[in-house]
């Protein structure tokens, strides 16, 4: 009997000790650095290979789930009211031929349609039919220079505290055949909630990579000097830059 009491009390001592120990470790910068090392391993081993599965029309979610809120500032509201007639997608940075694309020009380029699944980092997923321009076609048009390594997407939405949403891909990810600048969802122009007029679709990574309300694509050698320097709004909040897992 004594032995059982001993075992039970040591088990409960271990359990109650876990919380404070886990908290202390979680708050330790070195521990966090070690934990974050898994990202490099995942990026190296999984990377961006293969093609995301493409689905049938019947698999599409007609009510594609919305996360986040459309920009509500007067500039966006005015742009939206004119059907984005004044919108330009500026592509600049480390490129030979910077260019500002009006929507009509983007629509005149070859269009790709993909029915792919959007996997949110939160754990849910939804299937949409997306149409638009391949990111690689845009890159071909502007010709990245030799020092170009990343493609940064600057967006029109902010978090209410002045931080604009942005995202980034490396050139390999950006040239993936399914990396798409989508202008249509489920056979209709993108609505404000889903990122009108142009959003990114990166079906081989988690949803936060697929930035909405994109207005500028900046090709850079490094994103260290943009915002907090981790390559994206959610990356700056501690999420992984490589979001393939």
């Amino acid at each position: 009997m004594k032995r059982r009491i001993f075992l039970a009390s040591s088990a409960s001592a271990i359990l109650t000790g876990c919380g404070p120990i886990a908290n202390a470790l979680n708050n330790n910068a070195t521990v966090q650095k070690v934990l974050a090392s898994a990202e490099g391993l995942n990026h190296a081993l999984i990377g961006t290979r293969g093609l995301a599965r493409e689905y049938r029309e019947s698999d599409v979610d007609r009510n594609f789930r919305v996360n986040g809120f459309a920009p509500s500032d007067s500039r966006y509201v005015t742009l939206a009211a004119s059907n984005f007639a004044g919108y330009r997608l500026l592509v600049d940075g480390a490129v030979d031929r910077r260019h500002a694309f009006p929507l009509g020009e983007l629509r005149a380029l070859p269009q790709q349609t993909q029915i792919t699944r959007h996997d949110c980092v939160e754990g849910w997923s939804a299937i949409g039919k997306w149409s638009g321009v391949r990111l690689s076609d845009i890159l071909d048009a502007v010709r990245p220079r030799n020092d170009a390594r990343y493609v940064v997407f600057h967006c029109m939405d902010n978090d209410g505290m002045g931080n604009l949403y942005y995202e980034s891909l490396d050139l390999h990810q950006a040239r993936h055949p399914q990396a798409l600048l989508a202008m249509r969802l489920n056979d209709a122009p993108l609505d404000a909630a889903h990122g009108a007029p142009v959003r990114l679709r990166v079906p081989t990574q988690l949803g936060y990579k697929s930035a909405k309300w994109v207005e500028r694509i900046e090709v850079v050698g490094s994103f260290a000097n943009i915002a907090s320097g981790r390559g994206g709004y959610w990356e700056d909040q501690g999420y992984e830059w490589y979001a393939g897992i």
Partner: protein
Amino acid sequence: MIYRYAVLTRASHWLWVIAFAVLVSSGLQIFNASPNLDASDKSDPARRVLAIAAPVDGVGTTTIFGHRFVTTGWLGWTDDGMGSRGPHAFPGWITIPGYQDLAGGRRWHLFFAWAAALCWLVWLVSSAMKGNLRDMILRPSDLPKLWPMQAYYLKLRKEPPPHGTYNPLQKASYTAIGFVIAPLVVLTGLALSPGIDAIANPLTVLLGGRQFARLWHFVGMIALLGFFAIHTFQVATQGALNQMRAMITGWFRLGEHDGVGP
């Protein structure tokens, strides 16, 4: 006394204990970001198997196959890890970090997933090279001995069937956990990754789709917890000190029935 567990086996064992605790608690943190499990590819409320929710402030509910239970304080409306209660599926005291932090939970989870998997691989290769695996893996000839062994534990039989250093029930559980359940938990976790899905889509399809893989991953965790419960119960009831000493120092005092048969 025999020298039963090599240092690598003991180190692996305790690393798995830590990894398992971290993986469960960070996994529940990740689950909390979307506390539903669907038997489908994309999210589909019509095929929802488990939903944990806080339909109104102060009330937590758990819905399993459409049957709803009020679970306030335990699931749905629970400890938020910051001194009060809120809409959190699993309570803060069981998750890592203790407060809502999906990014933090993912860092813990993905790191220890690697640690546990690499540790398993090193242990497997070294045990196979030393020939120790032979004693642990369940063989067809062990199958008729499973019930007699259980009957012995239930005191329905005086003598256990003759066996090697591990009895047939131990072999069954080590084989199930090490070669079936743990690998399945790894595969179901990998199937959740959009990057892996693009490389190995048949894996996701085989599991019934992405959300189904998330459900299987959760079921796998429950199976591992079940193994853990039975395993600790057996250790506690079958010479706890001898077993603990063996897994710490390597030295095990054989019972009168151990190691006498094939």
